[in-house]
Amino acid sequence: MSTRGEASNTVIPENLTIKLIEIIDMTGKICYRRDCRNLENGSLIIPVNNLRNGVYLMKIFNGQQWSVEKIIVQH
């Protein structure tokens, strides 16, 4: 399933505030980290092609608190 075309057209809503994104694996290792403080409005696309198949957690910090989302990488 390829959704890259959709993803590249996605506009981040103005009220979406993302300061920092981390992807961690199930052992707690940080596999990806991105400082988003200078992010301009537009698509926020995180590459996962370097990650191995498995379950990961995407932790998103909005400047005040963390949220966590589950992401499955399946090549």
Partner: protein, 563 residues
């Protein structure tokens, strides 16, 4: 005593006789014009000393003995003279003749009626002269300031204000402030076109008493004038069932006739759909002098064009009128026998049949789209009445059969909750908070389950086709976990997580109708997991993930599956 009674009776007789001898001629109950000299003769028992105005504005013009000339003011109220005379007993006495019937229009009062013409609006055809008869009942005169309505006589003179160029009888209105005399029954003759938006005004007058008297300003009525008709279309919409060819007539109606030349510019939203009853397609635009248009609708076209028409009066376009056309809607209740027949679960492949498809309809199969659809089920014959569906993953889908008639109208029926490839497993959870109250397990958009740290949370598996379920710990920190079988709710996972923002992964193994399936559930120990939330797509992902705000927060059951 007898002498005293005789004196009293004589005195009463004398007084009565004295009163009965005062009179005035003409009498007080006659109608009088204001501002007009009137000769009166007063009769009294003795000699008259003086005659003066007493009230109401009347006055004495001249006097000669018992005769005087009086004049009433232009006011319809009681007017009284005062007659001073020396009675036979040599006493000074007064006589006050009261006149209430003064034909003045100074004061208006609807208690004695108002002008109610036979027309509330004058619709006068344009481009021609029209004779408009106006009539109404005569008003009565009245006297103001009486305790009860004092109406008398009949007002027979009126004035009309009409548009310049219009006529009453032989009098043509020359300016807009001109008033033309008439009765309560006149014929107004219009000119060809003027007056639209104006008024015909009518007021009572008493010019027979004098030309400078006050007319009945406050009793003036206004009748609005309309020279151009209002156009309406009939019908404003129509529907034709698919499969039916129908002859329709759309007509423009005029609120009143006109003498002007009128043409009608017709326009269809689509060409080459309607036909003339005599044959041939109706073009997209055309002009008629007839206010109606008859045509035939096709039996099977998907779209029926709307019809608009613009009346043109003497070259001036009027507002466009629209008649909308559509197919008569259809719905599933019209075809109650149309149904999907097939099993409620698909382990590898199953057949589904759309039965009782109405004649002339075609069928198309679809699956639900989120979270499970074509990603777990493959439709092999999407346009056949019977199709096989293969399980290519696990989930719960809805199967949709959509039938379409020759006009493109569609009806869909849905068979829901079809378990594919073992289905999904859902969990519900709860814990008891410090107040002793149950709180539900909270689950975010992507299926992460939030556990309140250091509270023992019970997680229940809710899978309707589940034969057995077993939890196993995979990774992450915990204070405590166990599982047990509850006879009423099945397998229960009990977990207690530390407060350190900890995440733990448990795996659920289900044995259902399609064999063993595993499902991974994430639990995150967090106190306030409520805001903000984000959704990730695609998920699963192979190369990139797009991050968006999540539209909803789902705190109900949590479907979850990891391949």
């Amino acid at each position: 005593m007898k002498k005293f009674i005789t004196i009293i009776l004589a005195l009463i007789f004398f007084i009565t006789q004295s009163k009965g001898q005062t009179s005035i001629s003409p009498r007080t109950d006659q109608e009088y014009c204001p501002q007009t000299d009137i000769s009166f003769t007063v009769t009294t028992p003795g000699s008259i000393n003086n005659i003066t105005s007493y009230s109401g504005g009347c006055f004495v013009v001249s006097r000669n003995g018992n005769n005087f000339v009086g004049r009433f003011s232009d006011a319809n109220l009681k007017q009284v003279f005062s007659v001073e005379y020396t009675d036979v007993d040599n006493t000074i006495k007064y006589y006050y003749p009261e006149f209430k019937k003064i034909k003045s229009l100074f004061y208006s009062n609807t208690s004695c009626g108002s002008i109610q013409p036979n027309l509330s609006i004058i619709n006068a055809a344009g481009c021609q002269e029209n004779t408009i008869p106006i009539s109404f009942s005569n008003l009565q005169w009245h006297t103001e300031f009486e305790t009860t309505a004092s109406c008398f006589g009949s007002i027979t003179q009126y004035e009309y204000q009409i548009p310049v160029g219009w006529k009453i009888g032989s009098t043509t209105c020359m300016n807009s402030s001109q008033w033309i005399a008439g009765s309560n029954n006149v014929n107004i003759v219009t000119d060809a076109n003027s007056g639209d938006g104006g008024y015909v005004k009518i007021r009572p007058v008493n010019t027979s008493c004098g030309i400078s008297l006050t007319p009945g300003y406050n009793q003036t009525v206004s009748i609005p004038i309309k020279r151009n008709p209002t156009f309406t279309i009939s019908p404003t919409s129509f529907q034709v069932p698919c499969g039916t060819a129908s002859t329709k007539t759309v007509a423009v109606n005029l609120s009143f006739p006109t003498g002007c030349s009128v043409s009608y510019n017709w326009s269809l939203s689509n060409p080459y759909t309607y036909t003339y009853p005599s044959g041939g397609f109706v073009p997209q635009t055309f002009t008629t002098t007839s206010p109606s248009f008859t045509f035939s609708t096709p039996a099977y076209s998907g779209v029926l064009p709307s019809i608009s028409v613009t009346p043109v009066v003497n070259g001036v376009s009027q507002p466009t009128l629209i008649c909308t056309a559509s197919r008569t809607p259809i719905d599933a209740s019209q075809y109650p026998d149309f149904a999907i027949v097939g099993p409620n679960s698909i382990c590898s492949s199953e057949n589904y049949t759309a039965v009782n498809i109405p004649t002339g309809f075609t069928v198309h199969w679809y699956t639900s789209t989120y979270p499970y659809g074509s990603n777990v089920a493959q439709i092999n014959s999407p346009t056949s009445a019977q199709t096989s569906i293969n399980a290519i993953g696990s989930g719960v889908i809805s199967l949709i059969a959509t039938i379409t008639n020759q006009c493109g109208q569609q009806i869909s029926i849905t068979k829901s909750n079809i378990s594919v490839g073992g289905g999904v497993s859902k969990i519900n959870g709860y814990f008891t908070n410090y107040l002793g109250q149950y709180e539900n397990l909270k689950t975010n958009y992507d299926g992460v389950n939030y556990i309140k740290p250091n509270y023992l949370t019970n997680v229940v598996v809710s899978n309707p086709e589940l034969a057995s379920a077993t939890w196993s710990y995979i990774t992450g920190g915990y204070n405590y976990w166990t599982q047990y079988q509850d006879p009423s709710i099945g397998t229960v996972l009990q977990i207690n997580l530390p407060i350190t923002n900890n995440i733990v992964l448990f795996r659920l193994t289900n044995n259902g109708s399609c064999g063993a399936q595993t499902f991974d559930f994430l639990f995150w120990a967090k106190d306030a997991p409520y805001s903000p939330y984000y959704s990730l797509s695609p998920n699963p992902a192979s190369e990139v993930v797009n991050v968006q705000t999540s539209p909803t927060f789902d705190n109900s059951s949590s479907p979850n599956k990891v391949s």
